[in-house]
């Protein structure tokens, strides 16, 4: 039984080199799946493959029982998958509000309600709505990036290292917001370097090594698994 959004047997990579070797990641609505692992393990690649940004040699991507493996990234976005890249994830020369509007580019209905919802989630964005996104602090930029992605009212949200380069306080704050988003019924996949914190909010976790699923299990299980602790969580 597949979960709401799932991938399996993914193999492939850039320019002939296989970064992924038979890996699979799944997530249910209202749950958070976290992908951790050492550098170069293929964490981001796995996520990009699920979005269709990488052509796979083999593997399936299923959304709500429908095979979407053949769709372009744009089409997958239209199907309700939102993605927040690790870098360059905002329109720095546009205002905060315009960033949110661009997130909703595909929608033709009234988006004001969604914008208000995002302002409720990230109140600071309301204060800065007319400021250029590029002028904001690192944490605020991440909020803009997540807000932009949420504008399509997605059923799946994928975040590529959302806490990279932000302070620990901002990181906790951001994770709290992500849990709030989860509670609205969104399926969330997070790729993270900060494995400990990320696994602590995870419903399900994946430890990727060499493009393979090395360990899988509930977030708390992985956190308590001595092998995982030793190898990836610093004891």
């Amino acid at each position: 039984m597949n979960k709401y959004f799932s991938s399996s047997n993914m193999t492939g990579g850039y320019g002939g080199v296989d970064i992924l070797n038979d890996c699979g990641i799944e997530v249910n609505q209202g749950e958070i799946s976290v992908v951790v692992g050492p550098n170069g393990a293929g964490k981001s690649t796995a996520m990009k493959a699920m979005l269709g940004m990488i052509t796979l040699k083999s593997g399936d991507v299923i959304l709500n029982g429908k095979d979407i493996s053949g769709l372009t990234p744009e089409d997958r976005v239209a199907q309700g998958i939102a993605f927040v890249p690790q870098t360059m994830n905002i329109f720095s020369e546009l205002t905060v509000k315009e960033n949110l509007e661009m997130g909703a580019f595909l929608r033709n209905d009234n988006i004001n309600k969604t914008i208000e919802d995002i302002y409720k989630l990230f109140p600071i964005l309301k204060d800065k709505k007319n400021q250029l996104a590029g002028e904001l602090s690192g944490g605020q930029r991440q909020q803009v990036a997540v807000g932009r992605a949420l504008m399509t009212k997605p059923s799946v949200l994928m975040l590529d290292e959302p806490t990279a380069g932000v302070s620990p306080i901002v990181m906790d704050e951001l994770f709290d917001r992500i849990i709030e988003i989860k509670n609205t019924g969104v399926a969330i996949i997070i790729v993270e370097q900060n494995a400990k914190q990320a696994l602590s909010i995870a419903d399900f976790g994946y430890v990727l090594v060499g493009g393979k699923n090395k360990f899988t299990g509930k977030g708390s299980e992985l956190l308590n698994n001595p092998e995982v602790r030793k190898a990836f969580l610093g004891g």
Binding site: V77, F83, F91, S92, L94, F105, R148, T152
Partner: protein, 339 residues
Amino acid sequence: MENFDILNALILLANFVIVPAISYGSQLAIAALGITIVYAVLRFSNFAHGDLMSFGTMTAILFTWLFQNLGITGGVLPTALIALPFAIIVTALLCLLIDKSVYRFYRKQKSHAVVFMIVSVGVMFILNATVRFIIGPNDRTFFDGEKFLIRALDFKASTGLEEGLTIKSTQLITVIVAIITMLLLFYFLQKTKMGKAMRAYSNNEDLALLSGINPDRVVMITWIIVGALGTIAGVLYGLDKSFKPFTYFQLLLPMFAAAIVGGIGNPIGAVVGGYIIAFSEIMLTYAYKKFFIYLLPEHLEPSGLMQFLSTDYKFAISFIILVIVLIIRPTGVFRGKTI
């Protein structure tokens, strides 16, 4: 009469420097906007823009002749203004055709910007040949209607001043059309969904794709705008001076200088850059002798022309300003894009 010296000097300056510079600056600003928008969205320096302007102007001239033959004229206004919308449509269609048949291929290949630049040289050749083939390489004036808004003689008679002020109707038309064009453009870019999408695409192409912005639509609208801007700039310049294909090619340098000085890829920068270049060009090539004769006591009057640079070198001024900006602030007055 002594007291009027300052007034006379100011009128002199207005007549020979300020009024011409404002109208030339408006023309350059619209032209540089075309360059800067291609740069911002399509990410290359378009060497064909001068010849695109020349094509748009030629189309407007042909429509003007057609309307004149049909007995339709603009009355006190030049007929070319009626022809302008039609010329814009033809030129925009041409831009789309060129994009589809030429540039699209390289965009799909994700070619380097310099390859696009060379491709634009090929387009320049073809546009240049087309214009020369259809209308010939010679100078043409296509202005009709009322020539002057204020004549020097009338001005002198009514004010009693020694210096006259001439304002050509084309100068006023230039300024009004340029202001309307800029307002429309900035409204489009700042307030409409498509305009914002264009800016978003220019700012962060990958994220724009992730947001579902259709790149082909953005490119199409960009070319329509560029065609319109080129035609408007070309027609305004041609009405004010005259139309000659080679002159339009030579405008490339001041146009690029305006775009780069303002900060290439930044529309406001292009407008400001246009006026900076125009004012510098005219101020630095104007002979201030008479101006100082009005202002200075007799024994201090200058003997030379008091001219910084001969008008033969007006192109050098765009270049010098460009070099100064490149040395002091390579991103331009308003921070443009850096690649």
